[in-house]
Symmetry: C2
Subunit: 376 residues, 2 copies
């Protein structure tokens, strides 16, 4: 497998050596697209209905329509073609029931958007013919022809490595192995960290939408109840106290609502990003597995040469190919790291901004309630 002749291709993928090490070749302006405007469509005289999303790339400003199954088709193509070198995260789950419910459609759209954004950001994927087709086919005929061509693409699986050309000199097998090991360790421990955060986040979500607001409601009710009892005393001049108590009770009911609605405003995005990364990290073991298998093959090389299973020349080619794979892995890891830094920085800021707003709002509401009491 390793020693097959490389397929000639126009789709050359260059790897530069930048400050951080091997990097993919990034376009000057980054591709981006907006997934929006889900509409119900139908086929076969209305017998089959489906949801179509509008996908608008920033390059053409001409939106195209796609159903979930088109996204799924694209995913399969990308996985076939790039899966050995680049982790291709899964699409949001297929769902059988409730496909036409508004919340589901909104959530799916949000996640398709997330997936598309991630694919657009990837220089190798976004530059590929199949991806470009998906975003900017002109008409049905164009789309169908492109589809047929993509499905016949032979540059898939490990073949993709033959399209990759590192700018730098070949790497030592030991170095290749070390890099591979360290990436494997990193992705494994990040996977653990992300899952841990997801568990904690889920638990927190439950508390924030369940027992905690219920308790604030109870406090609110207890205070309003006490206020009602006080009002019934018949004692003159306690209107200020009872009004203030009622107000405080209502404030705690408001706090209950604020707390319960908060996770959608902040935790939601933190969870989504971590879910995306969980999916992405889940692809790494396969990618790394391909590398490890290749390394093992090269290690066996001497034995294979001795038993005349391969020639000395084959062995050199194999070592060269493994070096290229390692450059690809490094480029991919560097891509992964820079995106990770960007994503976590952004989502943590969003999370903290919303958290600050929440606590400030609670403090403000309580201060208003406090102002209703008389100072004696």
């Amino acid at each position: 497998l390793l020693s097959k002749q490389p397929v000639k291709t126009k789709e050359k993928i260059t790897i530069y050596v930048g400050e951080v090490g091997p990097v993919w070749s990034y376009p000057e302006t980054q591709l981006d697209c907006v997934v929006a405007d889900p509409k119900k469509g139908s086929k076969m005289y209305g017998l089959k209905s489906y949801i179509e999303y509008q996908v608008a790339p920033n390059t053409t400003n001409r939106p195209v329509n796609h159903r979930y199954k088109h996204f799924d088709w694209l995913y399969e193509r990308l996985l076939d073609k790039f899966g050995s070198a680049i982790p291709i995260p899964s699409l949001p789950d297929k769902q059988v029931t409730g496909r036409f419910e508004e919340d589901f459609i909104k959530m799916r759209m949000e996640r398709l958007q997330g997936w598309m954004t991630r694919m657009c950001r990837h220089p190798v994927i976004s530059n590929s013919e199949v991806f470009q087709l998906f975003l900017s086919f002109r008409d049905d005929k164009d789309w169908k022809m492109g589809k047929r061509k993509a499905e016949k693409d032979e540059m898939v699986g490990v073949m993709i490595f033959s399209a990759i050309e590192p700018e730098a000199s070949d790497m030592d097998l030991i170095e290749v192995e070390q890099k591979c090991e360290s990436f494997s360790r990193f992705t494994k421990s990040m996977d653990d960290g992300v899952k841990d955060l997801l568990n904690v986040g889920q638990e927190h979500w439950k508390r924030c939408t369940g027992p905690l607001p219920k308790e604030y409601q109870k406090i609110g009710k207890a205070l309003q109840n006490l206020s009602a009892v006080f009002s019934s005393s018949g004692y003159e001049g306690e209107a200020t106290l009872t009004d203030a108590l009622t107000e405080t009770g209502k404030t705690y009911e408001e706090i209950a609502t604020l707390v319960a609605e908060q996770p959608r405003k902040d935790l939601h995005f933190l969870m989504e990003i971590n879910n995306e990364y969980k999916g992405l990290l889940g692809c790494f073991p396969d990618t790394i597995g391909v590398h490890k298998a290749a390394i093992e093959k090269v290690k066996e090389g001497d034995k294979l040469v001795a038993t005349s299973k391969i020639t000395q020349q084959d062995k050199v080619t194999m070592a060269k190919r493994v070096s290229t794979m390692s450059y690809a892995l490094q480029a991919e890891m560097n891509h992964f790291h820079s995106n990770r830094i960007y994503d976590y920085n952004r989502v943590m800021q969003l999370y903290l901004e919303q958290q600050v707003k929440l606590y400030e709002m609670i403090a403000e509401r309580l201060r208003q309630a406090l102002g209703r009491f008389t100072t004696m």
Copy 2:
């Protein structure tokens, strides 16, 4: 019982009719005292040890020392003497084990202080000979003589009503009954309201000191853990992110501590006041029971006169006595209401002030953490 001759006394208790209705006669400067400085003392050559509290009234500025059992003695005297007319709240619980532990002593002192403050605030109690003795005896001899005298006091139980002199004309039996009923209803429903708030408060206390900070700690740990994973990436230039993540994680751990320590700063006082009121309200059924029994007796009056069990004159005396009791109950209810308004106003302000501080502090800490991230 009702028609016994009143005992002559110097201890006349006058009831005025103020804006809110019948009121006790209040002193110009309110008696107050500070319970402080608990010290271990011993008797019988060190065989018996006890804790002595310093009680300093604002009238003499000469502190006296009292053990818990002296407070208990005072409580018994006040209950005997005034219990039929005035609810005398119980002292903080007796305790057999752990009497010399610091936390217990502090808590008991705080509660004795609360009890003394309430007693000082009561114009009838604070003006009584036995209470004055407790606060300002000159020496051991003085104390022992006063004790003996107080224990022999005959002006106890329902006799206290004979010392009470309302300034206003006698009340109609129907009105007496209505007042009694409405006070009974009010104290019952306030008792329910207070107990409800205590339950809710207890539940909230548990959450704030248990699962909630634990969850914040977990969030903090998960973020710090992720930061440690990120640091191990070997990727250059993510120190800002990892520092900010670590800082955010630590902030959530701090928030855990803030949340867990908060109940001692605010909920504690709200609970203490409500516990005091629960105790106080628990005394009302007895006090109101005495009134209801007296009303029943007067209702039976005609029958008793008819069967010559009492004279017509006796019946008039009884009606007069019940009217006096009703004035006393009204004065006491008005005293109760004005104290209740004061206490709840004060404790709610304290509670809300501390709550505002908590949420502001959390917002401030989170804002600091947010500031550690780079804006891109």
